[in-house]
Symmetry: C2
Subunit: 181 residues, 2 copies
DNA sequence: GTCTATATACAGATAGAC
DNA sequence: GTCTATCTGTATATAGAC
């Protein structure tokens, strides 16, 4: 399990950022290389094709979700509240990777869609024991999806319609009350 | 208030469909013309640039939302249940236009993002009198966003993770119970 | 109103120097 | 490992025939 080269990670970071901020169309090899501070040839040494670059992003997502599930299991406030709270984007590694992946998926990228489905199903399995029934599980997941969707729309910028602070706490309390067994 | 030319509408339909099914990148002028059964020159007669084509989609969305708000006001089951039920994609005119618009928005299209924000705010205003408080309003809107997000991901295809039939009824009941004044 | 032909720009990818 | 130069395909847009 070797640590990946630093330049490779910078390229992935830049690719994510471009997908988030400007969308799939703007996230070209050229723009990614420029944003990462390498030449196109340099990028192509680490990722020999656009497909390889995209695959790199997807595998990063899976790793980050594994870590997130671990944190969720041991969260003092409980998995449901933890899950909802961390669905409000904090610009952390997982949030960025997930939004970038959903940009790819919405661009028709088959494997990106499958990755998102698989990720959602892993969360589903982790949350199921902590909610009353299937409707409650749907509720929790859909609220989380809604939060991600809004975060993805506003990109990294400004204030969106996503509840924060006391409004977020009230929302979590409401969902918890509706969802708990 | 003249009826728009039929060819123009076909072009918009094709553009929507391409955005939904294959994403922003695939929704080129060329592909749109081909799918609408006209030549590129023919398309450019109706929409003199890509910007004009995108603007045509956005103005269609606003019109459809106006009609939807009218229907929501007079829905027998009440605005909240109507809103949630129609957030599960039925492949109707509004659903298609909205998903296509969100593809544009996620491609970095500024006016598309603004249109979606404006639309969301119109729904917000229509729903506010029918829910208990702000947290309940957030809940209803976020569940709807979550439904749209999942519909948008699975595109027009197959079964996604979106609840249907009895599962949808259970979800609506749960949200109604949590949200009603 | 709708077509073909073409100009210009930029995408992904290859070759090979350093 | 990283660079420059270049090939090939395709996107938007223009010009002008029918």
């Amino acid at each position: 399990m070797s640590r990946p080269p630093r330049a490779r990670e910078s390229v992935l970071d830049a690719f994510e950022r471009l997908l988030m901020d400007d969308g799939e169309r703007a996230a070209t090899m050229d723009a990614t290389a420029r944003a990462a501070g390498v030449s196109k040839g340099g990028l192509l040494y680490h990722f020999s094709s656009k497909d390889a670059l995209e695959a790199g992003l997807l595998s990063r997502v899976e790793d980050l979700v594994t870590a997130d599930l671990e944190a969720m299991r041991s969260a003092p406030e409980g998995p449901v509240a933890f899950f909802l709270r961390t669905s409000v984007m904090d610009d952390d590694l997982l949030d960025r990777a997930l939004i970038a992946t959903s940009r790819l998926a919405q661009g028709g990228h088959q494997e990106a869609s499958e990755t998102l489905r698989r990720v959602r199903s892993r969360w589903e399995d982790a949350l199921r024991p902590h909610v009353r029934d299937d409707a409650a599980l749907d509720l929790v997941l859909l609220v989380s999806d809604g939060l991600y969707y809004n975060n993805a729309l506003t990109g990294t910028s400004l204030v969106g319609p996503v509840p924060r602070g006391p409004a977020l706490e009230a929302l979590i309390a409401l969902v918890e009350h509706a969802a708990h067994p």
